[in-house]
């Protein structure tokens, strides 16, 4: 009787312990629940490898500067292979350590001989860079950093990589192993374009000043105007509600989709520009990394080819990130009012502005090389006609999108300086010719 009593009590204790263990397991593994509810999205994302490929491409550095033995800065480019991609693939083999504060002197570092500098046009997150280079240590870091430039040595003692914020002049350094400088040297040697530059500040941002006049090749492309139906099916249709309403106004068509018409696609036929507003995503990205990641997801959903698209700039206060098409190392302007894509997040929803014109196939160019003046000459020309140095907020060498007059499917990309005055990017020739804006 007594033994029976003890047995029941023991069983009860075991049962209680098992229930506690199981409850603990289920509660702590709550991501399994999340995954379960996500089955729909995981199956939709079957092209994860190409998505990762696009991601790595969009966040590639856009400028490669080689500092020689005698401290000369050369902007380099290779017309046969994409240097930035090759460097990324080489760096994927390296093992990055944790990034720590560096005591290096800023001016010494950016002028140190025999180094390679990889530059971004605007801030990028270090954790995001870790994702681009598949470096788990960088990705898992507790604190994220914002930087604009990467510097490492090109001689035999390549052991440290520096990440630099050119605005605050902060420097972080990460120890690398398995890095072979001979591979880097080979890539630099193969580069077939090189021009002397100087890096100087313009309104708080470090910019590339071309010391001498630069001779650049114009390019031509066959372009594709994607049909708006492809965007309607990519952005508006979902499994629960397939009805799409339409409204015409002026030269624009607005398509409404989603359960409470909470997604709108506005098509401007005249300029081939589209605007997609999604009122269901009202979360604001809390960090630069989140902004850049969400920005990428947004442009990836549009489903335009992203081969030539690179990250151009972001505004954390405004929660805006912009992307431009890049050709042979330089951005394209006037493809639309905003470049290739502009993504904005706010409390009422997210907005993606994009162009339905995409570069398709390169074709031989009709025109000869274009010679651009040295940067200081260009700025002086602007000052001579009455602009002040303060007005010039930013500038970059870029390609002007000029539609061919005979063949509408061909666009000529003419190299020129683009200057940002009054928050507008325009060809410096246009600023010179017309002072009204």
């Amino acid at each position: 009787m007594r033994r029976n009593n003890l047995f029941v009590r023991l069983l009860l204790i075991i049962a209680v312990v098992i229930s506690l263990v199981l409850s603990f397991l289920i509660w702590t593994n709550n991501q399994r629940y999340e995954r379960k509810t996500d089955t729909e999205t995981t199956t939709k994302r079957e092209e994860t490898t190409s998505e990762q490929g696009n991601f790595e491409q969009v966040y590639l550095p856009t400028q490669i500067i080689n500092v020689t033995k005698n401290k000369q800065h050369h902007l380099i480019y290779d017309h046969q292979v994409s240097l930035a991609t090759e460097l990324r693939d080489t760096m994927k083999e390296w093992h990055f350590g944790l990034a720590r504060n560096s005591h290096q002197n800023y001016a010494d570092l950016i002028n140190s001989p025999q180094t390679l500098q990889l530059g971004y046009h605007d801030f990028i997150s270090l954790k995001l860079f870790g994702k681009v280079e598949s470096q788990s240590v960088l990705q898992k870091a507790t604190r994220d950093r914002k930087f604009t430039r990467i510097i490492f040595s090109t001689d035999a003692k390549l052991k440290t990589v520096y990440f630099i914020n050119d605005t605050t002049k902060q420097i972080w350094q990460s120890k690398v192993s398995n890095a072979k400088s001979s591979q880097i040297a080979k890539l630099i040697k193969a580069a077939d374009f090189s021009t002397t530059i100087r890096q100087k500040y313009l309104n708080g941002k470090l910019r590339t000043f071309y010391d001498e006049s630069v001779s650049l090749t114009p390019y031509s492309y066959l372009i594709n105007r994607r049909n708006e139906n492809t965007y309607i099916s990519a952005l508006l249709s979902d499994s629960s509600n397939s009805a799409v309403d339409t409204r015409e106004s002026g030269g624009k068509t607005i398509y409404y989709g989603g359960s409470y018409r909470n997604r709108q696609l506005t098509v401007d036929h005249r300029r081939d520009q589209l605007k997609f507003v999604d009122n269901t995503t009202t979360d604001l990205p809390e960090s630069l990394k989140a902004l850049l990641e969400k920005g990428f997801t947004a442009i990836n959903d549009v489903d335009n080819p992203l081969t030539d698209v690179r990250y151009f700039g972001s505004d954390e206060n405004d929660h805006t990130v912009s992307y431009r098409s890049y050709v042979e190392g330089f951005p394209i302007f006037q493809q639309s009012d905003f470049g290739a894509f502009e993504v904005n997040f706010n409390h009422t929803g997210s907005t993606i502005n994009f162009s339905s014109r995409t570069l398709q196939v390169p074709v031989p160019s009709k025109s000869d090389k274009v010679v651009l003046p040295a940067t200081l000459d260009m700025i002086n020309q602007l000052i001579n006609v009455g602009y002040t140095e303060k007005q010039i907020k930013d500038f970059a060498i870029g390609y002007r999108w000029v539609p061919d007059t005979d063949e509408t499917d061909i666009v000529d990309l003419k190299p020129t300086y683009y200057v940002k005055i009054n928050n507008r990017w325009r060809d410096y020739q246009d600023w010179l010719a017309d002072k009204t804006e």
Binding site: N5, V8, R9, L11, L12, A15, V16, I18, S19, L22, S23, L25, I26, N29, R32, Y33, R35, K36, D38, T39, T42, T43, R45, E46, T48, D78, H79, Q80, V81, S82, S220, L222, P305, T307, E328, V361, P362, V363, P364, K366, E407, I410
Partner: protein, 316 residues
């Protein structure tokens, strides 16, 4: 007494709870496996579907390659070297840039080393213009013709614009047709190409591979994409030869390896017409000139036959 009953009730309740929790925990785990499966299965389900459709595919590479956008100005490289040819009667069509030539004395090939013999012939002296820039393609050749494709430093050209086709009659070579792509320039930096496996799967998904057929071979080579502004643009293209198992009919399918789109309306040996900018009148005129050229060449052949035959040295 009461306490023991309560103990029993608790025991039953907790065992019930354990069963429930255990069950829901197991269910969660199995769901994960299921959803993961769906993600990775896409490629293998295509393979399974292909097997169900009785389509035989050998082992295909899944490795991505690299290629360029190339352009070649439409010039006449063959036309300017015609006078170098000896011991042949030829006709050259300047519209299609095609050279047709007949040998005065047929070249005899030994069955076993026909390819080696012809390769040697190509490389010697002035037999064939740019002869050393072609390589044998077994896949494109048949019992009555041997096809050589033009090779460049970027890879071989698999297109009617860079081909050398020898007509065979048993073991004798009677004549050949030749086309040649002039100077190639790189338009853009190196780009990644899709793998052979991707190309075949794309063809299958797009219903380009019929049931009960076999993939004979897959080869990456440059083909014309469009002709624009007086230049021809070449892109790396996956050439996939599909053979029907019943009829043994072969058809060549082409997939643009840069943007993975299928290039349609092209079958073996007839892919030179440009599809974008040339107008219909253009293509008509070039076709008529082909026929006139062939008439020309035959009359030319008759008149000069004896002369050439006398000067042709014997091969072998």
């Amino acid at each position: 007494m009461d306490f023991r009953r309560i103990e029993w009730i608790f025991l039953i309740v907790f065992i019930g709870l354990d069963i429930f929790l255990g069950f829901s925990y197991m269910q969660n785990n199995s769901k994960i496996v299921f959803s993961d499966d769906q993600v990775t299965a896409t490629s293998s389900t295509i393979l399974r579907d292909m097997r169900d459709d009785n389509i035989t595919v050998g082992s295909l590479s899944t490795k991505q390659g690299e290629g360029y956008y190339l352009s070649s100005q439409v010039t006449d490289p063959l036309g300017s070297h015609l006078d170098e040819l000896s011991n042949q009667t030829y006709a050259y069509n300047r519209t299609t840039h095609t050279l047709r030539s007949e040998f005065g004395i047929q070249i005899l090939l030994s069955k076993k080393k026909a390819v080696a013999d012809l390769e040697k012939y190509l490389k010697t002296g002035q037999n064939i213009i740019f002869g050393d820039q072609y390589e044998y393609s077994a896949g494109l050749s048949s019992s009555d013709s041997m096809v050589f494709v033009q090779k460049t430093k970027y890879g071989s050209i698999i297109d009617a614009q860079g081909e050398l086709i020898f007509k065979l009659d048993d073991d004798e070579v009677i004549s050949y047709t030749q086309t040649y792509v002039g100077d190639l320039t790189v338009l853009r930096e190196k780009q990644a190409t899709i793998s052979a496996n991707d190309a075949v799967q794309l063809l299958y998904i797009s219903s380009e591979i019929p049931e009960n057929s076999k993939i004979v071979w897959c080869k990456l080579g440059y083909s014309e994409l469009i002709s624009v502004r007086g230049s021809v643009i070449f892109v790396p293209v996956w050439n996939v030869m599909v053979q029907h198992k019943g009829t043994k009919n072969e058809s060549l399918k082409k997939v643009n390896a840069l943007n993975s789109t299928i290039i349609k309306n092209q079958s073996t040996g007839s892919s030179s017409s440009s599809r974008s900018t040339s107008t219909s009148t253009d293509t008509n005129s070039s076709e008529t000139s082909i026929t006139s050229a062939s008439v020309d060449s035959s009359s030319l052949l008759n008149s000069t036959q004896t002369n050439v035959a006398a000067t042709t040295p014997a091969t072998n």
